[in-house]
């Protein structure tokens, strides 16, 4: 704590004493560029890359930047917006048995964080501000959410969501680039929503799709067809897909299991694999 204060004092003192250094400080406040790797374009097989080799012109490195780097080092516990780095997780119960999750990690803007709930997880990039707000459907009444930050920090929060007992929720976690989708087809009379959470841009990412339907206020009976749609792309034509399913329906024990979809082969790139009978359909009854 005292070190943080000292740094703030030091920074303020520098600002007053030396305008030249202060300019460098302004440069340091500029938000850094996104760190997440964007997917590189798929290069057709056989297309030779005949880039010419070049030798970079070596530039003498001056020590002009050293004081700035030193300054940034000393500011390590303060974000670009001047708030303390210390990450935090807070969670509140929202309507429809949703969890209002707030992850605060001001010093790792743009970094991917992983949110885990009931054995399922998804990845999301932190916004520039380092404050992430999202709504997550509670999969159980005693909801625990864990957040894994890029710096290794693990945060945890819990909430009581008794209303979650009234919902049938089927969740599908997809890992890797080019994730597939959970598809739900139902007559209009049935209530239900399909939620898409997370972003997955590399092999370490995951998305989470949740179909949710309130059981105790259904005004009609019927069947929701649940199927899985997996695109065949260059990144998964050989390796296939990894996914995880959790089915939670009132009156049934919740079941979680892993799905591994075999690669269809790279001749099938551009096609989509639709699996209609891998997920059990959801029977909704008029209440």
């Amino acid at each position: 704590m005292s070190r943080i204060i000292r740094n703030v004092v030091l920074a303020a003192w520098c600002g007053v004493a030396s305008p030249a250094v202060a300019e460098s400080v302004v440069a340091a406040i500029t938000p850094p560029l996104p760190k997440m790797a964007l997917p590189s374009p798929d290069i057709p097989q056989g297309a030779a890359l005949d880039a010419e080799a070049f030798t970079p012109v070596s530039m003498p490195v001056h020590d002009a930047m050293a004081p700035v780097a030193d300054m940034v080092m000393r500011q390590a516990n303060i974000s670009n917006f001047g708030s303390a780095c210390g990450p935090s997780l807070s969670m509140a119960v929202a309507i429809d048995a949703m969890l209002a999750v707030r992850v605060s990690a001001p010093c790792i803007p743009y970094d991917m964080v992983r949110l885990e709930h009931e054995g399922l997880s998804f990845t999301v990039p932190m916004p520039m501000t380092g404050e992430l707000d999202l709504l997550l459907p509670a999969l159980t009444a005693d909801a625990v959410v864990k957040v894994y930050l890029s710096d290794g920090t693990v945060l945890s929060a819990d909430a009581e969501v008794p209303d979650a007992r009234n919902y049938a929720r089927v969740a599908l976690q997809w890992d890797g680039v080019d994730p597939g989708a959970l598809v739900a087809k139902a007559p209009k009379a049935l209530d239900g929503t399909l939620m898409h959470l997370g972003q997955s841009v590399d092999a370490k990412g995951s998305v989470l799709h949740v179909f949710s339907s309130r059981m105790d206020t259904q005004t009609a009976s019927g069947v929701v067809r649940l199927s899985v749609l997996a695109p065949v792309t260059a990144s998964n034509c050989r390796s296939g897909h990894e996914a995880r399913v959790r089915r939670g329906v009132p009156g049934e024990p919740a079941a979680t299991y892993d799905l591994r979809l075999k690669g269809l082969g790279c001749d099938a790139i551009g096609e989509s694999l639709e699996l209609k009978n891998v997920l059990q359909d959801l029977q909704l009854s008029q209440y």
């Binding site: 069947v223 299991y257 892993d258 799905l259 699996l275 009978n277 359909d281």
Partner: protein, 497 residues
């Protein structure tokens, strides 16, 4: 034949030595091809030497299921999941495509078993079983004569020998329409006409004057085969051209649900958002495919879903799985998966009002008032069990009823009916004079009692009363003007006090 002797099995005391080629090792037993022919040896009693010896600590049971997609899609996966949870194993489902899945069951240390599921038709299930490409066949009907003789020539044993079929769950064949279709019940003849294409307009079968659009399962599917055998064969009709055939039953149901002019053939477990039609008889009886009606086989198109196993020995985990499918714990899993389990349930005499009303309206010279009074007196204080026995002809039980004998015998052995009074009540159809019908129904009740006592050697019959009784044609459940109606009426019911 030159046999490379790759294993040498020695008994613990060293007295006996067997050399040969290892055929299989199932985690318990070695099956070895020797100069004496194939021998099966208990792994606990011998030590194995040679390059062919399996790694005893890394044994992974491979169990291959093949057969009807009705079972492979939802029912068996749900049972495998439940079996794994019960045995504290984790499950990964590897999906190759719409027809092939492998369930990998692991404990904390290693993979214990791989259950491979091939989803196709009943005929494919039997063919794979005969060719030894499957260990367990998922089937919707008993093997046909051609399949039994094929099994004999392929030396994979007699398919019918011993008890190899286990009824896992029940389903019903139903005709479905869109929710908006005003016509709600059909006789089996009308159903046959509408689905085969003989009737082209709804007005031909009592509905409005609009064309009938037909959605059916694939021609070689066990479901359509069963419908042809049981319904179309009665009216000498066949499936005519012009229908849309779907690989997946859910597509049948979904297509029908969206089209008021459509009729489809599917199962009760896969009606989706379409509505099943009731089956009516000319004398005014109507049966719907409900849980209770399917359990008691009161619905004419009950479909038993069976697991058929070969004569050879299966790995321990496969046998445990088969036992689990017959366990009461599996009943709930079966119901949740949308199928009908075979749990023994009770309905009270008061809920049999419709049947009694019918019995009274049918009473006449053959069934007298005294007969009805005697029946009401005997049954009034009792509850009817869902367990009902039906006969393929004479006194031979059908497959679902054979299963019922085992279920009821097990319940008797565990003492579930101790200090209770069980009445096995025989009934007959109404064809022919009442006298012979009454004695035939008595004979059926006695034969069920005999089978029950044979199947329950450990039951204490001092603590439970089980006796036969019969009322002939007094309490019909369906009309006697059709063969299926008479088959429904020939039965033995169980009433408990």
């Amino acid at each position: 034949m030159a046999v490379a002797n790759d294993v040498q099995l020695t008994s613990r005391d060293g007295a006996i030595q067997i050399e040969g080629t290892l055929l299989t090792y199932d985690g318990e037993f070695y099956r070895v091809e020797t100069i004496y022919g194939p021998l099966t040896l208990d792994g606990g009693g011998v030590t194995c030497d040679g390059p062919g010896c399996p790694d005893l600590n890394a044994f992974v049971a491979d169990v291959r299921f093949s057969g009807a997609n009705r079972m492979a899609e939802v029912l068996i996966p749900a049972l495998i999941q439940a079996f794994a949870i019960r045995n504290e194993l984790s499950v990964v489902r590897e999906v190759t495509d719409e027809r092939q899945s492998t369930f990998v069951l692991s404990d904390q240390e290693r993979i214990q078993a791989r259950f491979e599921l091939s989803s196709g038709t009943t005929a494919e299930g039997y063919a794979d079983l005969i060719a030894e490409e499957a260990d367990i066949a998922m089937v919707l009907r008993e093997p046909r004569k051609s399949e039994v003789s094929m099994a004999r020539t392929a030396a994979s044993g007699d398919l019918l020998k011993g008890r190899r079929a286990r009824v896992v769950a029940l389903d019903g064949i139903v005709a479905v329409t869109a929710p908006g279709q005003p016509l709600r019940s059909l006789s089996l003849d009308q159903m046959a006409a509408a689905l085969s294409g003989q009737a082209t307009r709804w007005s031909d079968i009592g509905g409005p004057d609009v064309p009938i659009v037909r959605h059916l399962p694939m021609p070689e599917s066990g479901l359509l085969e069963t419908f042809e055998d049981r319904v179309l064969a009665q009216s000498d009709s066949t499936i005519g051209a012009g229908a849309t055939h779907h690989t997946l039953l859910q597509d049948v149901a979904d297509s029908v649900a969206d089209d008021t002019f459509a009729i489809g053939l599917t199962t009760l477990s896969e009606t989706g958002n379409a509505v099943p039609m009731r089956v009516a008889g000319a004398c005014g009886f109507e049966t719907s495919a409900t849980l209770a009606a399917l359990r008691a086989e009161d619905y004419p198109l009950t479909l038993p879903l069976m697991l058929y196993t070969p004569a050879r020995r299966l790995p321990l985990i496969a046998r445990e799985f088969l036992d689990f499918t017959q366990d009461p714990a599996a009943d709930l899993v079966i119901r949740r998966a949308g199928f009908v389990d075979q749990a023994i349930t009770k309905t009270s005499f008061d809920d049999q009002g419709d049947r009694l009303a019918h019995a009274i309206s049918q009473a006449g010279p053959e069934v007298s008032l005294e007969d009805l009074q005697r029946m009401v007196e005997a049954l009034r204080e009792r509850d009817r069990l869902s367990t009902t026995f039906r006969f393929t002809g004479g006194t031979r039980l059908d497959v679902q009823s054979e299963e019922n004998i085992i279920r009821l015998a097990r319940a008797l052995e565990t003492g579930a009916f101790n200090n209770r009074d069980l009445l096995l009540v025989g009934f007959s159809d109404g064809e022919g004079p009442a006298g012979p019908n009454l004695s035939l129904s008595k004979k059926r009740a006695r034969s069920v009692l005999r089978l029950l006592k044979e199947a329950a050697p450990d039951a204490d019959f001092k603590r439970v009363t089980v006796r036969p009784d019969a009322f002939g044609e007094a309490l019909p459940m369906a009309c006697d003007d059709t063969e299926w109606g008479r088959a429904i009426n020939r039965r033995v019911e169980v009433w408990v006090k």
